[in-house]
């Protein structure tokens, strides 16, 4: 995740873009594993992540920029909120999604941990 910067530049847009791209790939992959196969449902997965991911990443960035707030706690809160919002959307709009809450929890956990692993590999 982004660390506190001495000054904010336009690289925040790049960070948001990379984060969203990676999240979409990982969550779609998980959705397919979860047997979500209809194009309409897969599009829903994409749209829901466009709703949650940039907002979560930006708010986490703000917390890191502020510096004094417990960042792990902020991350947990944000991820839980993202799961809740995604589950609500899947339940409301996902006709063929049988277990919307499980999908939301699983997809977010999958993308979170794989994302962390990728981050660690990149910084080695």
């Amino acid at each position: 995740m982004m660390s506190r910067a001495g000054a904010v530049g336009f690289d925040i847009f790049i960070s948001l873009g990379i984060s969203l791209g990676l999240t979409l790939v990982l969550e779609l992959a998980f959705a397919l594993i979860f047997r979500v196969r209809q194009k309409k449902e897969l599009l829903l997965v994409c749209l829901v992540n466009i709703i949650t991911n940039p907002a979560v990443v930006f708010l986490y960035y703000l917390a890191a920029y502020a510096g004094d707030i417990a960042q792990t706690l902020v991350l947990i809160i944000l991820e839980v909120l993202a799961v809740v919002v995604e589950a609500l959307f899947y339940k409301t709009y996902g006709e063929k999604i049988r277990h919307p809450v499980l999908l939301a929890v699983g997809a977010n956990a999958f993308s979170f941990f794989v994302g962390k692993a990728v981050n660690m590999l990149v910084h080695i």
Partner: protein, 280 residues
């Protein structure tokens, strides 16, 4: 009885005015000028009073850009190299660069990197050549009778009058350092007199035509222009606000898109009878 009441009333009024006077903030006629500048107002406690008068602009490409603030990339003016610059306050940014607040005329101010301002080369040369001839000053220099104006010079023999002060017969000027030039004139350095600073010719304080010391002036050259480019660095507030607005727009837009694209399920859920009629 009546006298007692009147006395108490008078005592009360007197006490009231005494308390009023004692609680009034003491103002000194000699207060530092505080600039009418938005950035300065927000960061006044981080700014340092320097009062530098003997500075010349010396920036890359022949000029020094004056910026709206040390964190704004908006240009508000320029100072040509060699022009005199007065800096009252200095601010140090997060990168460690110092920025001086300068006047750009019309009551407006701007900020310049202090690395682009140099001490007047003639002044520097004068101090290098003559500092060993300096003597301690004395507390009061009282202008001779008949002197109504005292001229302040950049340095003895500079030929540059920086300021002139109208003085009263009872005025005395504190001298921190004294110096005698090759022509026998006695000079005194004034650190502060009614916000003015500089050298006065104690032998002839009202003479504004004291000639240049050609010997000292010879060989004084401006140093080379700096090569490092120093620009303000934004504190990011504007970009963060822009990003927040964009993200909000994306979120709202996507929510609307989802509602439009996936309307059928919600419509059927709201109207199950209609849905079953449709099937029939």
């Amino acid at each position: 009885m009546r006298k007692e009441v009147l006395f108490r009333f008078a005592a009360g009024i007197f006490t009231f005015f005494m308390l009023l006077i004692l609680n009034c903030p003491v103002s000194n006629a000699d207060v530092a000028w505080e600039p009418e500048d938005d950035f300065y107002r927000k960061h006044a406690d981080e700014c340092r009073l320097v009062r530098k008068e003997d500075l010349l602009a010396n920036g890359p490409e022949g000029k020094v850009t004056v910026w709206q603030s040390p964190v704004s990339d908006r240009e508000v003016g320029t100072k040509e190299n060699g022009s005199k610059v007065y800096v009252e306050f200095v601010y140090k940014d997060k990168r460690g660069y110092e920025w001086g607040i300068v006047s750009i005329g019309g009551g407006k101010t701007g900020w310049v990197p202090m690395d682009y301002l140099i001490i007047e080369p003639g002044l520097k040369n004068f101090y290098n050549k003559h500092s060993e001839e300096f003597r301690d000053g004395y507390d009061d220099f009282i202008p001779p009778e008949g002197v109504e104006t005292v001229y302040f010079w950049s340095y003895p023999g500079s030929g540059k009058v920086m300021n002139k002060m109208v003085v009263d017969p009872e005025d005395s000027i504190g001298i921190s350092t004294s110096y005698t030039d090759k022509d026998g004139r006695q000079w005194g350095h004034v650190s502060y007199f009614r916000q003015a600073e500089g050298w006065i010719c104690m032998s002839d304080p009202s003479n504004h035509q004291i000639p240049v010391n050609e010997e000292d002036a010879a060989g004084v050259v401006m140093p080379p222009e700096p090569t490092e480019i120093i620009k303000p660095q934004s504190d990011g507030t504007t970009i963060l606000a822009l990003v927040a607005v964009l993200i909000a727009a994306v979120v709202v837009g996507t929510v609307v898109l989802v509602r439009v694209l996936y309307r059928k399920k919600t419509t059927e859920a709201a109207n199950p009878d209609k849905a079953s009629d449709d099937i029939k």
